[in-house]
Symmetry: C2
Subunit: 524 residues, 2 copies
């Protein structure tokens, strides 16, 4: 009998409470500017007149200058990037943001727009004394049209709140990701977040119908359209999707939200090779077709990391064990999610699919969720890897697109290189690296390579970069599938983009932000 009940008794509730902010090793607390030897740009420094001006635009509780209160805004959640801002502004309206930008542009004061600050490449924290504009006070749902499924909302609405709102209306936000409890929809759009269900709902370039953006000179671009089709002029909003706060500050989003699936199934499978993972994906794409909403893969070591961190029972555990002992020996695991409108049909499709892949031995073992709780538990073993990768002190995260054929070989190549350089060991605590693990969205050609480390170190960084980027470029991939460039990958864009493309990108930046006040030292 294939359908095994999920054995895990742990509810892993703590995982739902968004991202955990923890301290890593001391070397990580160094200022970004010093650590990476960055030179401050030729920007003005905030003076009393500036503060007076901001006080005339905002009320006092929208302005933060207290050094203790500034800490959280100055660093990313991994504490890899630490800035030196002296001022956080928390406007409540688009108009206030317009006034602030107009003023800063004239005064050449640099700005970092900040959403939920859940980014992974240091894009949402300052490097020097940039003014942080937090979008947290722009947090209203503006409207929802039940007939068309079009949602309009402020950019500072938390993704999970937006999805909960939609859930009550029978709709779903066409994006889901691990940080949903903290990240803002505006940040999702600004970074063109991909997430867990892009396979079914497509990219934000397709689902975002309109944006409201404040340009660097304070101009408000009101493109909050709510039309699925509109061929009147260049599609300006596209420029801002994935621009990482470098062209304007997104203040409003209009987005098409599909009907919420009435039936969701998860299958969690064990496979004997990466070849089998690919074969399994081919079959799922063909046989599950319109109900396939996620196809995620995880390597064995990523499951060991997760088990160590969760200390609960692995879904495919066959005996009475817990933690790492409960993880069976399959080199690869796959999580398949189906979403549809008719439970019996979805069940039947999934059952037939599983019979096929079990029969031809593409899949060796598996379990299927029986209820909502089990469904969440199964997802946990995929979603918690990011966090589990940090349990030894820190993590170097790479998020790349690669052709499926060469995708996993990157993880193998990196682990081999770390071994060859004598930097890695799961047992010897004197080595900086614990190990490299791989997992990700097979359906999107997107690999997450996590190098779990005991400490952040220049040696490890040198071993990894540009090695990883060179590998990706050689295989015509992207050095950033969904995380963006931010600070971390700013210097490596040429591994994914041609000279002509880079020149065009720089031209656009110069065109819209000639004083380069928006999110300096990053992107490009």
């Amino acid at each position: 009998m294939f359908r095994l009940a999920v054995r895990s008794k742990s509810s892993n509730n703590y995982l739902k409470s968004s991202l955990i902010r923890y301290s890593s090793s001391s070397s990580a607390s160094k200022l970004t500017a010093d650590k990476y030897n960055v030179k401050r740009g030729n920007y003005s420094t905030i003076n009393d007149d500036d503060l007076k001006e901001f006080n005339s635009i905002l009320s006092s509780n929208q302005i933060i200058t207290d050094s203790n209160d500034l800490i959280g805004f100055n660093q990313d959640w991994m504490k890899k990037y630490i800035g030196q801002s002296k001022l956080v502004l928390k406007p409540k309206t688009t108009d206030q943001i317009s006034k602030i930008l107009s003023y800063c542009n004239k005064r050449k004061l640099a700005i970092v727009p900040q959403g939920g600050n859940t980014g992974l490449v240091g894009g949402s924290v300052p490097v020097f004394d940039e003014i942080i504009i937090s979008l947290s006070n722009l947090n209203k749902i503006r409207s929802f049209d039940e007939m068309s499924g079009i949602l309009k909302l402020d950019s500072g609405v938390i993704l999970e709140n937006a999805d909960n709102f939609l859930s009550e209306k029978g709709n779903i936000f066409p994006l889901d990701l691990g940080a949903k409890g903290s990240c803002f929809v505006g940040g999702n759009v600004a970074t063109n977040a991909g997430g867990l269900r892009l396979l079914k709902y497509g990219s934000l370039h397709g689902s975002v119908l309109g944006l409201e953006v404040v340009l660097p000179d304070g101009t408000i671009l009101d493109s909050m359209h709510s039309l699925r089709k509109d061929n009147t002029g260049y599609d300006l909003k596209q420029l801002f999707i994935g621009s990482e706060g470098s062209l304007g500050i997104i203040t409003g989003v209009s987005i098409l939200c599909p009907a919420r699936p009435k039936s969701v199934n998860i299958a969690f499978l064990g496979l004997n090779s990466y070849e089998s993972v690919k074969k399994c994906f081919q079959t799922a794409r063909s046989d599950l077709s319109e109900i396939l909403s996620a196809f995620e893969f995880m390597d064995h070591d990523s499951q060991l990391l997760a088990a160590k961190n969760l200390n609960s029972i692995h879904p495919l555990c066959q005996e009475d064990k817990i933690g790492i002992d409960s993880v069976p020996n399959y080199p690869f695991y796959v999580l398949i999610e189906t979403s549809g409108s008719t439970k019996e049909h979805d069940d039947e499709k999934l059952e037939k699919f599983l019979e096929k892949v079990m029969e031809n031995e593409t899949v060796i073992d598996g379990t299927v969720s029986q209820d909502e709780a089990q469904l969440k538990t199964l997802w946990t073993w995929r979603e918690s890897i990011a966090e589990a990768s940090q349990q030894f002190g820190g993590v170097y995260k790479y998020d790349v697109s690669l052709p499926l054929d060469s995708m996993y070989s990157l993880v193998e190549a990196v682990q081999k290189r770390l071994n060859d350089l004598n930097l890695s060991s799961t047992t010897d605590n004197s080595k900086p690296v614990y190990e490299a693990v791989g997992y990700g969205h097979i359906g999107d050609g997107n690999l997450h390579l996590n190098v779990a480390v005991r400490e952040y170190s220049k040696d490890v960084e040198k071993a990894l970069e540009p090695f990883v980027y060179e590998f990706v470029a050689k295989h015509h991939g992207s050095i950033s599938a969904e995380h963006g460039l931010g600070f971390q990958k700013k210097n490596y864009i040429s591994y994914s983009k041609s000279e002509v493309e880079i020149k065009m990108i720089k031209d656009l930046k110069d065109h819209y932000d000639p004083n380069h006040i928006l999110n300096p030292y990053k992107y490009i």
Copy 2:
């Protein structure tokens, strides 16, 4: 019993032979420049040295100067717009296009890029003596990856040829439209074509993964990426999707092509009111959900036009009649297409849906396709309306996005206005207008308003414009859902876009094409 066999015996084969080019009334043969009083821009005129240069880039059979051979290139298929070009160039490579553009840019020679020339707004034909660059010789499929479904091809490949190629591989082009036998995929991308199945596969902004474009100065932008996810820099290709040949000439397209559905059903329904059409759509969206691939509506008069033109038996005809006599009296008709992977499941979903909407009297009558031939026949009654609208001499076509609630009222308002102005009659041949009909993609909020006329006339044009655009603006719609701006709607963009948006669009044009050599007198 609800499931009636389709009674139509006509195969309507001639409809498949792409677009029919026919002559309309004499007033339509006037030159665009004269008819619309356009002033020639400050461009150079082609001289012998220019021809020498083009002869050095192309071989002689790639250059057309014979006045008879030029006719077809100088006019659109409706013969509404007639230009005066003396030169057509038919390059075979991207490199040749680069050399041509580089030269023309230096010499300030104006250019019109031309694909299949199936556009509806005069965007692909010259106004004065612009050089026509035809993409017809760039017609190779470059590569197809069966694992990912990513197709790379030249921009001059005919849409139907691309889809036939994919069909053999078990995939489908994520776009379908009436002109598929003639239009080029590059033109589809340049005009951001929407078409019949956007509801299921989304817009080209989501499915196009990469483009190769020659910029006005001859620079080749090679962004032929084949990654579903790539967050490294602004998404440059988006600028060219829907730019109607005003920013660059698209020479290559990389596009994600989904698995071809294994099961396709069509239901053709009769309804008693527009309210019922909306209700039917709501139910289909919820109950057919992931297999709903098209939801098209047609009014009664559009079916009469089609019947008159096809002279075959309407799908919902109850007696032994033919042509217009065979069209029953329902004020509205709906065509629903489902596409899925499992025939029994799709049949069951459709059956349950139909039972529901028949039982609650949302739908009064209907038929379901039993085989491939019937499926094509049913589509004919939707797809042939465009052509049927021209049978009396010509047609004014409007393609707008409107909120569903106010969508059909535009057709009623236009017919009332034409009646009030005494311009319209189905029986009195001395009136310029035959009638106004409405149909379109309810699922996309996209209405096609066709005003069938006996002749093109200034009076009718004045009655329609800006009336139609004002109506659309008042209801926050788009004056061009999918046809684009071209020549026809150039002056009306302000009904759909704000001053800020228009300024940004003009800025981008100036930025990329400072000499305005690409597709002048159009777009914006």
